[in-house]
Symmetry: C2
Subunit: 613 residues, 2 copies
């Protein structure tokens, strides 16, 4: 009975999945590709993950009875983070609950739990006329530390008051054993950290309990620097062209990080004063901007970062509103376009300690690629461009409500789904790759990338001939007819769209091939191919291989690991071992500069094709 | 001929001293007890030490010809810092040139020259497409440092620009080997530090060249915190009674320190941006206030400091306007009333490494006393009160123009001098002690402290009977008759004045006796008695012994060492060895709390007497 299978249909998308009876709704939804946001970290407190069981509502839990009204419960409302599904069900997941499809749940490796931040409570012997040691000496001695240990001035300034606030019971907050704050009374149970992954487009943030390593809440938002441009180059240009541009971009990202900290803390019902450290990953440019370090030399050959090593900084030095005594650990970068996010991905996937050969690909505006094992590691960055994020694509869009995100043949019938089940508005990266893969398979796109003329479509797919129309600039394939879309035109894939995707996937494929050639291996030698990041999570693996973006490996070797960069940042937050590993990764990895690699251009030209001609 | 002696008379005081022909005027003046201020450090640039030779003007030097006008030179104007005296001379030293009689020249021991701050210049290899290391990694490697070394964020933020500013020639500024700043080009010759001694009343500051250890300029000023009260307790009360009082007192002292830095740098013609470190000594309360640490527990038993260990802080964290990357080393304190200034005195006198037994006494509002040798060290603090600074004394005043600063018998005739040779305005500490000593010797003050009645004055001094008058509260001795003073009354010493001095000198003597008893030694065991601070420098040693303030040792064992606290701060500035020694001193020294010492009250009662009854 425990292994009995149930069927759960999610509305409004209509996606239906099988699940083991009694599974958590969160897991079932995830398996359907539906991400239910849980701002409070799954504690059942915030009520923001409220879903409606239209059929098969399970019994309400005591937590749900606390958080929801009786009327809600009677109507089938349940908390997404609390409910387990015991029978076939139909569940409506409101759009707001799904939120933006930004990845905040990844895969994490096991690493010793050794946070840099620790707390200890001690009773301090009261000063008397026979024991006139200074407060600080008294306290350091009680914590079994040398009086010579460098105590932060800010901590020293508050020590005397805190020490006397709760009858000489005092909690010390330590960073790598050095006291950074003192708090009256026993506050050891309140000890948190935040991990950030600062992307050019989105910022993901995770609140972790530094006593347990457990995630408390998750939040993500759009990087507000996008107001000066979508890509890294436009951000760098802004710092060069505008006086105060660097400070402006820094304060934009810091302000957003502060909002995320607020959201995280509100969700978990804790005070930001109990957050003592932030671990930050991001691409090299984002790391520079966040630290207020000018990134201009990233924009011109030889593309060197100002800073690549890990940095330890005071939260107050950059204005991050965690504890006033808080620290920031900025993960190391590898090169101008292989950043701390790639280091974090490598950290999270453990590939640097594994004897298996792993290829890790993180596709965003730039495709960062790492190849290696414990023996040797290579990395490069390819300018994939923003096509997968919808830019320069006629109906391209981000992975948001109404985006066609999956396309497949059901027999010979072309089917698609949209995010949120809405009427199509456009097509996002995963849908685009699916569609092109299907059209290749149907002979509608040739290996050269040309969209055939209507009459060239094979007989088997002759019913699709009506979908091929001549647009302004060549043939277009209609994916969704005008009457089914919520825009006043059909959603199409144009010849130019195919060319954009060819360039993007070609850059990635050529980058991968260059690393494999540099290491002297072929696709057959790969033990694992790991896809990181949002796109890597949502793309259909078969399509990615079929269009030739990824090497032709068995699907079983291909793993989507979600926001591995965020996972890596979390590891750095909860483990100084991981920080040491990150330093080693950044030191050890060999960066391959594609612009000067002798074979890259040839590989790129070859990789533009869809399969053998 | 070289050893010929000349006579130099100083006006307006009329003090006349003998000197070796050709001596520097500065030295001759110093031997006459006249301190000529040299804001530019004796470079002959600022012109502020201008004196007038009324007779015997030496030839002008080229420097003088640059700085002074021809007319000035013709009139006998010379620069105090430049001129050497080759013949008998009469020199007028204007009041402004003498400035406040604040000690800024002390005695210094020899200690290895090892400043914490060092500079190094390197040529950085230019980045190329074949060497894409980050700027920071490139620079750290060029400086033969590990990439893991913690680089200050502020330094990292400016690195890229500085590195490219002068063709990849870069100067690194290091604190204990850790980079704190980078400067384009070779700036190694500009490397300075400032030593501060923050007293309750005055602040002394010294600019040192950290390449050579040489003093560049000296400045001193009144601690502006005196607007809320003259003593430590009134400062502490202010922090308790006024909201924002602590911040106010901190910003007062920091603002004054900033003015002193400006003066020092202006005098030496350097930029404050080239001052990378400050070493700060001061009494415990002043150290707290300067660091923004609340001193309230110093005001109530058991009088514990919040912080006693040495602190390393960022100049910008307290707003000290040296280099924006600058550091501060705050010397350690010993106890609530034995501060970093005492540690600095011990450091400067070397008594902690000497096998001779040294007694060091620093008399201000509190008398800090240290006794010991390399074997063992004791320290205590006595509440001497402000009598020696002129407070609670009828005609008491600070050591400023018009103060009677020396009193002696010429045959049986009582003589005095005043500071600046002006008509008497009052009497300062050294004059008071001299006068009382003389009156004891003349039988006019009894060992009990009672001023005798006119008829009790011994025959030998019967001509002084007219000086004894009955004041409002008992007998008074007229030191300067009304017609010779510039106040409309005579300058007198009252019975109450004598009582105040008894209490003050008794406290110091009892403190000394308590330390000697604790160590099991007597006055005969003392190898050296060292008097630190302004009062210790100006007091006549014979008088200090005669009134019983100091133990009865041969005068040859008694040494005035000037502002030894400032000297100690300078040592800490130019030698990390000295810092280590200071930490050891603070750790090793045994603090004796007089308020609970069983024998202190008896010793105090005994020490109130002037000699044996």
């Amino acid at each position: 009975m425990d292994n009995a299978t149930i069927t759960v249909e999610f509305l409004p998308s209509g996606k239906t999945v099988k699940a083991v009876k009694g599974s958590a709704l969160l897991d079932i939804a995830e398996s359907a590709g539906i991400h239910i946001g849980i701002p409070c970290g799954g504690k059942g407190r915030c009520g923001k993950c409220k879903v409606v069981f239209e059929e098969g509502a399970p019994d309400s839990t005591p937590t749900e009875e606390d958080t929801l009204t009786e009327a809600d419960i009677a109507q089938g409302y349940r908390l997404g983070c609390q409910t387990h599904v015991g029978a076939d069900a139909v569940v409506y997941v409101p759009d707001g609950v799904q939120g933006a499809k930004i990845l905040t749940i990844g895969t994490a490796r096991v690493i010793p739990f050794k946070p840099a931040i620790t707390k200890r409570f001690v009773k301090i012997p009261e000063p008397t006329v026979h024991d006139q040691r200074s407060d600080l000496t008294r306290v350091l001695t009680a914590f079994e530390l040398s009086e010579r240990v460098a105590c932060d001035l800010a901590a020293a300034q508050k020590l005397s008051k805190e020490m006397r606030e709760d009858g000489y019971g005092l909690t010390g907050v330590f960073s790598g054993g050095v006291p950074i704050a003192f708090e009256g009374g026993d506050t050891t149970s309140d000890c948190y950290g935040v991990a950030f992954d600062i992307g050019t487009t989105t910022i993901a943030a995770y609140l972790l309990d530094l006593n347990t390593g457990k995630q408390q809440s998750v939040a993500a938002s759009v990087n507000p620097q996008n107001r000066v441009g979508d890509d890294v180059i436009s951000r760098i240009n802004h710092t060069m062209q505008e006086s105060g541009g660097l400070a402006e971009l820094q304060s934009l990202v810091i302000a957003e990080m502060n909002r995320l900290v607020e959201t995280l803390c509100h969700g978990a019902e804790i005070s930001a004063d109990s957050v003592y450290e932030a671990a930050v990953a991001g691409n090299t440019c984002m790391m520079h901007l966040f630290m207020g370090i000018n990134p201009i030399h990233l924009a011109q050959a030889p593309y060197v970062p100002a800073v690549s090593a890990a940095m330890y900084i005071s939260a107050r030095d950059v204005g991050l509103k965690i504890s006033e005594f808080g620290r920031i650990h900025a993960l190391p970068c590898i090169a101008g376009y292989v950043g701390a996010d790639t280091v974090a991905v490598i950290l999270a996937t453990d590939m640097y300690e594994d004897d298996r050969l792993t290829l890790a690909v993180d596709i965003g505006t730039n495709g960062e690629i790492a190849l290696g094992s414990q023996k040797r590691m290579l990395a490069c960055s390819t300018a994939a461009g923003p096509a997968f994020e919808g830019a320069h694509i006629k109906h391209g869009m981000r992975a948001a409500s109404g985006a066609i995100d999956a396309v497949w043949f059901d027999e010979c019938e072309l089917k698609y789904t949209t995010i949120g089940g809405a009427e199509p508005v456009g097509i996002c990266g995963s849908g685009l790759l699916d569609a092109i893969s299907c059209l290749i398979n149907a002979g509608i796109i040739e290996s050269s990338g040309r969209i055939v003329d209507s009459e060239e479509i094979p007989e088997e797919y002759s019913h699709l001939r009506s979908k091929l129309v001549l647009g302004e600039r060549g043939n277009e394939f209609i994916l969704a007819e005008k009457e089914y879309t919520s825009i006043s035109e059909p959603v199409v894939i144009t010849q130019r769209d195919v060319r954009e995707i060819q360039l993007a996937k070609g850059a990635i494929a050529a980058g991968i091939q260059t690393l494999m050639d540099n290491m002297g291996v072929t696709a057959d030698d790969l033990d694992r191919v790991v896809l990181a990041g949002a796109f890597g999570n949502y793309v259909r693996k078969e399509s990615a291989i079929n269009v030739g973006m990824l090497p032709n490996v068995p699907i079983s070797k291909l793993h989507s690991v979600g926001n591995a960069a965020g996972e890596g940042a979390k590891l750095a937050l909860i483990s100084t071992d991981a920080r040491g590993d990150a330093d080693c990764i950044a030191d050890r990895i060999e960066y391959v500069e594609l612009t000067t690699d002798p074979g890259f251009q040839d590989r790129f030209a070859e990789a533009l094709m869809f399969g053998e001609d």
